[in-house]
């Protein structure tokens, strides 16, 4: 098996993998909304209510601030 074959297999594998992840994501977006776990559409309001004095759509809790990465 030479490098070109490895290349082809890797290409095939990653493409398949990423397609799966992408479809998984679509499923996740819609199912979590249907089950009422999460309302993605409300994040659209972040752009509309964006004064410093506006209440955040989701606040960072104190505890999270302490151990937040990045």
């Amino acid at each position: 098996m030479d490098i070109a074959d490895i290349q082809a297999y890797a290409y095939f594998f990653f493409t398949g993998f990423l397609v799966l992840v992408l479809y998984g994501y679509i499923y996740h977006l819609y199912s979590s909304e249907r089950k009422g776990e999460r309302d993605y559409e409300k994040y659209g309001d972040i752009a509309l209510n964006d004064e410093v004095t506006d209440k955040p759509v989701e606040t960072i809790s104190e505890k999270e601030i302490e151990k937040k990465e990045a």
């Binding site: 990423l18 972040i46 410093v52 955040p56 960072i60 990045a70």
Partner: protein, 492 residues
């Protein structure tokens, strides 16, 4: 110190707005000169025989591309970041002395970098790689500027109040990472002065890759620099400014998330379309074409999402020139992301590659989509940054129509020119000999080059109107905070 209420601090955004306008003028002015030079070669001697070395087409062309990409577009990206970033994360730069310092340093180093680029390109110091012409000392400066911007982005995210990152932030993060990776790999070079023990020009370097490999890396970079410079950050802008200006939340937030991952996944694979008919394995060229076609989906996902955001609010398009700019921008985005995949089909690319059709494709994207969106962003930001109403709505509407006409003249003439040229290059007569000599295929383009130059000139005139409008806004009627909630206040 008195206790003032917390406000967003736009000092860095303001600085970048300034360079957006100045470098936009410089870059597009050079573009117009180039366009006239192709139609009327005597303009190569614009400043006389003595300065011809610095004013001829080939010396100026890299200055055009770099001034509009790394000057105009990149400044616009930074300006909007320093504006949108604070707002959707709900944290002011005034809250962090450190980020403020980084922001200013970022700006000033950027200005130094730009100055160095202009001087070196005029002198003919270039590596010749498209959109990566800079020699190693400037590359290092650019990397530092980029790292500083990264600190700004992640620093601000680190102190945010809003827990979730708005979709625009995703796109800015992707811009940061994408360009960082591409730029570093494409600019791997060995400075000859040091490698040879101190001989020759100190700034000269030689590419780490040779021949075909160099081309592969360059076009992997070139295509994706387009992706992460002309698409991703501009999408970030429209996802914020259009909803904000129209007062309508994004039509489907879920679709916006999905298009994001779709774009990230597909864009890089599509790079193969610059390598058609080269030495890359055939199946990969084919996949490059296939992925380019698939790329329509996430691109149109974003564009349609934007148009649908205006659902039920179409009267705003008629009444607000600002909304007009943005709606036309997303329309042109759809247009060039349809045109691109068509050109990526192997048989079409065989005809289109190396011709003016590609130049047409480039400019319906950059003038119609990138240029319009950046100007719309600045139109929206200026009243909020200066706390004044926009100087003139009428001027803005006039500008809109002049520039739209300019873009249409530009791309239609280049389409005809490109296809004519491509067909003539390949035409054979009845005996199987080439039907045209090369010069025939050049002289035939003269009318189209002239039309293009006029179109470009109209666009430039519109840009001057834009600059004037923003300038006058700085001394227009002051407005109250509550007038700035959504639609931008404009004087008739």
């Amino acid at each position: 110190m008195e206790n003032r209420p917390l406000e967003y601090d736009y000092s860095v955004a303001k600085l970048f707005m300034f360079t957006t306008i100045v470098l936009g003028i410089v870059g597009m002015l050079i573009g117009v000169i180039l366009a006239f030079q192709l139609a009327f070669p005597s303009i190569n001697l614009l400043l006389g025989e003595g300065l011809a070395e610095y004013t001829n087409f080939s010396r100026l062309r890299p200055l055009h591309t770099d001034a509009v990409i790394f000057g105009f577009t990149l400044s616009g990206v930074f300006a909007t970041w320093y504006y949108i970033g604070q707002r959707v994360l709900k944290v002011s730069m005034a809250e962090s002395g450190f980020l403020m310092f980084i922001g200013k340093l970022h700006f000033w180093l950027y200005v130094v970098g730009v100055a160095a680029v202009v001087v070196s390109l005029f002198m003919g110091i270039t590596t010749s790689k498209e959109y990566a012409e800079f020699e190693w000392p400037i590359d290092i400066a650019i990397v530092i500027v980029w790292v500083l911007w990264g600190i700004s982005v992640f620093g601000l995210i680190g102190i945010r109040r809003e827990r979730s990152l708005y979709i625009s932030i995703w796109y800015y993060i992707a811009t940061f990472l994408g360009i960082a990776m591409l730029y570093l790999f494409n600019n791997m070079e060995v400075p000859t002065y040091f490698a040879s023990g101190g001989i020759g020009a100190w700034y000269h370097s030689v590419s780490m890759y040779s021949g075909t490999n160099d081309a592969l890396v360059q076009w992997w970079y070139g295509h994706n620099a387009v992706a992460f410079g002309f698409t991703v950050p501009i999408v970030a802008m429209i996802y914020y400014f259009l909803p904000k200006e129209s007062g309508q939340a994004v039509y489907s937030y879920k679709l916006s998330l999905l298009s994001f991952w779709g774009l990230m996944f597909v864009y890089l694979w599509a790079g193969g379309h610059h390598l058609l008919f080269s030495t890359v394995p055939d199946w990969m060229q084919t996949m490059g074409s296939v992925f380019s076609v698939i790329l329509i989906l996430p691109s149109w996902g974003s564009a349609i999402n934007m148009l649908l955001t205006m659902k039920g609010e179409w009267q705003q398009v008629a009444s607000s020139p600002l909304i007009k700019f943005m709606v036309l921008a997303s329309t042109f985005y759809m247009f060039s992301t349809l045109e691109g995949p068509i050109q990526a089909i192997k048989s079409v690319n065989a005809l289109a590659h190396f011709t003016d059709w590609i130049v047409g494709h480039v400019h319906d994207g950059v003038l119609g989509w990138v240029g319009f969106m950046i100007m719309a962003a600045l139109f929206h930001m200026a009243p909020r940054v200066f706390k004044r109403e926009l100087y003139s709505k009428a001027l803005m509407t006039t500008q809109f129509w002049i520039q739209t006409l300019g873009v249409v003249l530009y791309f239609t003439s280049m389409w005809i020119a490109g296809i004519t040229q491509g067909m003539m290059w390949r035409a054979h007569d009845e005996f199987g000999n080439l039907a045209y000599s090369f010069i025939d295929t050049v002289t035939v383009l003269h009318p189209y080059y002239t039309i293009r130059a006029v179109g470009g000139l109209l666009y430039l005139i519109g840009f001057f109107m834009f600059a004037y409008n923003i300038y006058k806004t700085m001394s227009a009627r002051p407005v109250e905070e509550n007038e700035l909630q959504s639609a931008t206040p404009m004087a008739a």
